[in-house]
């Protein structure tokens, strides 16, 4: 009998970190305000007290320093899980992530692995000031050498953070910050799937919705509404933006013939664009309509009072569903 516990996404990440750290004393946590405070979202709450200053520590407000020292610590045999406080603050570390962390194993022809996890609370919907609501995942998905994943629910959060830590490659771990307090059951005994496996969360026959992170909840809402209107939507949680599990998407498209890709990120040159392009290549003869994308507009993330208009909601997904069905 599996051992299920109800918890929030934030608590599930916390529990996953605790479990990993208990099992391997080479795992370090560091970042801005993550020690006594537990991070601005309290994801690391209690871990400083439990594992001590040598394993859980605050850093200066220096994102390049956070990632750059994680690279050096990886060379020393440590596995660092670092927190970037907000999505929009990751760019001072962009150099270290893309030119060093992502390339070190390739540069060293396999001699040096980079088991580093970069945790990034991302996405909008929390009424924040500028730089606190962004979805920068495409920059990292575009960079060879990185793995990019995002849990959408507590069970995935609990397991995927542990899988990310266990990986010998660098993993960008995007946490859907507006869903941090969303509750759900966590199976403490058995992981749901590997971290790069997409999952069908709801089966349907008319249109497939492929999405990830904070938009999974939105897509599930859209599927509920569509069902009332007589349309059966299949919802896929990609879970991984690099690599992308195209097999699961294509299998679904073979059944439904229609695909809508939804994300908070702007559509132009996005993960959604990649899904659309590849599905056209892989399943052209199964498609009854072009793959449509529902995303943020191609503008800077707007001021908080406009974000509800910027962010795709269930209605925007359903508008795309209607267009797909109209072909």
């Amino acid at each position: 009998m599996a051992n299920f516990v109800e918890m929030t996404i934030a608590k599930a990440i916390n529990a996953g970190l605790r479990k990993a750290m208990t099992e391997n004393d080479k795992i370090l946590l560091f970042g801005e305000d993550i020690a006594e405070l537990g991070g601005v979202f309290r994801v690391t709450e209690g871990l400083h007290k439990e594992f001590g200053q040598n394993r859980v520590f605050n850093t200066p407000i220096a994102e390049a320093g956070i990632v750059g020292t994680a690279v050096g610590l990886a060379m020393r045999g440590y596995r660092s899980v670092v927190e970037i406080q907000f999505d929009g603050f990751i760019f001072p570390a962009f150099n270290q992530i893309t030119t060093q962390l992502a390339k070190m194993q390739n540069r060293s022809e396999g001699a040096t692995t980079m088991p580093v996890v970069i945790r990034v609370p991302y996405g909008g919907g929390i009424g924040a000031v500028e730089h606190h609501s962004e979805s920068p995942e495409a920059y990292f998905a575009h960079t060879a050498g990185l793995r990019v994943i995002s849990p959408s629910n507590p069970n995935d959060a609990y397991w995927m953070i542990q899988q990310a830590i266990a990986s010998s490659d660098p993993v960008m771990f995007f946490e859907p910050k507006r869903r941090y307090w969303q509750k759900g059951p966590v199976n403490l005994d058995e992981p749901p799937a590997g971290m790069h496996t997409a999952r069908v969360l709801r089966e349907g026959n008319d249109v497939t919705i492929a999405t990830y992170g904070p938009m999974v909840t939105t897509a599930m809402q859209a599927a509920e509404i569509a069902a009332e209107e007589g349309h059966s939507l299949e919802v896929i949680d990609l879970r991984s933006m690099s690599p992308i599990d195209f097999t699961t998407i294509v299998n679904s498209v073979k059944k439904t013939g229609r695909l809508v890709v939804a994300a908070e990120a702007s559509n132009f040159v996005s993960v959604s664009s990649e899904v659309a392009a590849r599905v056209h290549e892989l399943a052209f003869y199964h498609l009854e309509a072009p793959v449509l994308r529902v995303g943020g507009f191609d503008v800077p993330y707007p001021a908080a009072k406009l974000e509800e208009i910027f962010l795709p909601d269930a209605d925007r997904i359903l508008e795309a569903v209607d267009r797909a069905l109209a072909y």
Partner: protein
């Protein structure tokens, strides 16, 4: 500025630098000869590599001529337990820790991006993006501290880390962050700044209002300036401060004042931005000539210098023939090391390339001679 050898090769010790001189007194004549051999060797290598670049054998050459004392002196002061995070001009430091010179040439020919094993050599890969390596060094040194391998009082077992950075790269924000992190953790890290006075075309005085050895003060990283063309001073200063870092005293910054006699790289034209008088001034302070004068004062005869010159001729020939024998790497290499674990996109693209290339039969780019058959040249091991 710490100086123990005058440009004329006279050994003299100012009273305030007696603690450094003590470390030189622990050296034997054999050590002095080793310094000279390696300085001459790396200079000869530099000339040969430059010629190979001009002949189209290398994509780029990054000369270090003029910086041999700073590199050989500091390199030999680094212990065999310590780790080194170089920039991209540290060919001299490389040979003091067993790096095969051909692996440097392979990289600059474009055979690979690195080419030696940093775990085995403790000499980490060249960092092309300026200053990035200083943060890796800071992280590594933090790890040494976490492992309890510093300040135990056992100097043979304790470890320290050294990172090399140029005057130009000190402007990178990441170098400041590295000083901050290292100081906050009191990590055993020495920043060895080779001030060769030119960041491509920008002179040092245009980059900093405060001398570089003072750069770390605000971060809690004390510093000192050493004559970077004086191999004995570079050895002694590095040795002392590496030992202190190892002993738990935290980070330190050494500014070695030297001069880049050559171009920034083979793509550069220094005649456009500096005078020949300036270059001549520094040639008169050449580190290799200075050590030669010292050794002759010590009674070292012409036979030794002839022997070194002969070894240089031999190295040149070996380098040339090994470079001509270099094969292109197999195309699979670009897929092989991107991830350490399975990745479907990489596998798919490699499979595609193999199928595509096989359609060319004998002309396929995927069948080349085994690059591991290339002889190793210039390793001190």
């Amino acid at each position: 500025m710490v100086q123990l050898l005058s440009p004329e090769g006279e050994y003299s010790v100012a009273p305030q630098y007696a603690e450094y001189a003590k470390l030189v007194q622990e050296l034997s004549e054999a050590d002095f000869l080793k310094f000279y051999r390696d300085m001459a060797r790396i200079r000869r290598f530099d000339f040969e590599a430059n010629a190979l670049q001009r002949q189209g054998q290398l994509g780029l050459w990054i000369p270090a001529i003029g910086q041999e004392a700073a590199q050989i002196g500091s390199g030999y002061a680094v212990g065999h337990n310590d780790h080194i995070f170089p920039s991209y001009r540290e060919h001299g430091v490389a040979i003091t820790h067993g790096i095969d010179l051909m692996s440097i040439l392979k990289m600059l020919r474009g055979v690979n991006h690195g080419g030696w094993n940093p775990d085995e050599t403790r000499f980490h890969l060249y960092a092309i993006v300026l200053g990035t390596q200083t943060l890796h060094a800071a992280g590594y040194a933090m790890g040494v501290k976490f492992d309890g391998k510093t300040g135990t009082g056992n100097l043979a077992d304790d470890q320290a880390v050294i990172t090399y950075v140029g005057d130009g790269a000190t402007a990178e924000g990441e170098v400041s962050e590295a000083m901050l992190f290292a100081a906050n953790h009191q990590a055993p890290l020495v920043f060895f700044v080779q001030n060769n006075q030119w960041a491509i075309s920008s002179p040092t005085h245009s980059q900093t209002r405060v001398p570089l050895f003072q750069r770390g003060a605000g971060f809690g990283v004390p510093g000192i300036r050493v004559d970077g063309n004086d191999v004995l001073a570079c050895y002694a200063v590095t040795k002392k401060h590496m030992d202190e870092a190892r002993g738990g005293n935290g980070p330190f910054l050494i500014e070695a004042l030297t001069y880049r006699i050559g171009a920034h790289t083979s793509s550069d034209d220094p005649t456009k931005y500096r005078s020949s008088e300036e270059v001549e001034y520094w040639k008169a302070r050449d580190p290799l000539t200075r050590l030669e004068k010292f050794l002759r004062r010590q009674g070292i005869g012409q036979d030794f210098f002839d022997e070194v010159a002969q070894a240089g001729e031999q190295l040149s020939e070996e380098i040339r023939s090994a470079t001509f024998a270099l094969q292109n790497p197999p195309a699979q290499n670009m897929f092989k090391y991107v991830y350490s674990e399975q990745h479907p996109l990489i596998e798919e693209q490699l499979a595609w390339l193999e199928a595509y290339e096989s359609s060319f039969g004998d002309q396929s780019h995927l069948t080349v001679a085994d690059p591991s058959q290339i002889p190793n040249i210039g390793s001190v091991h």
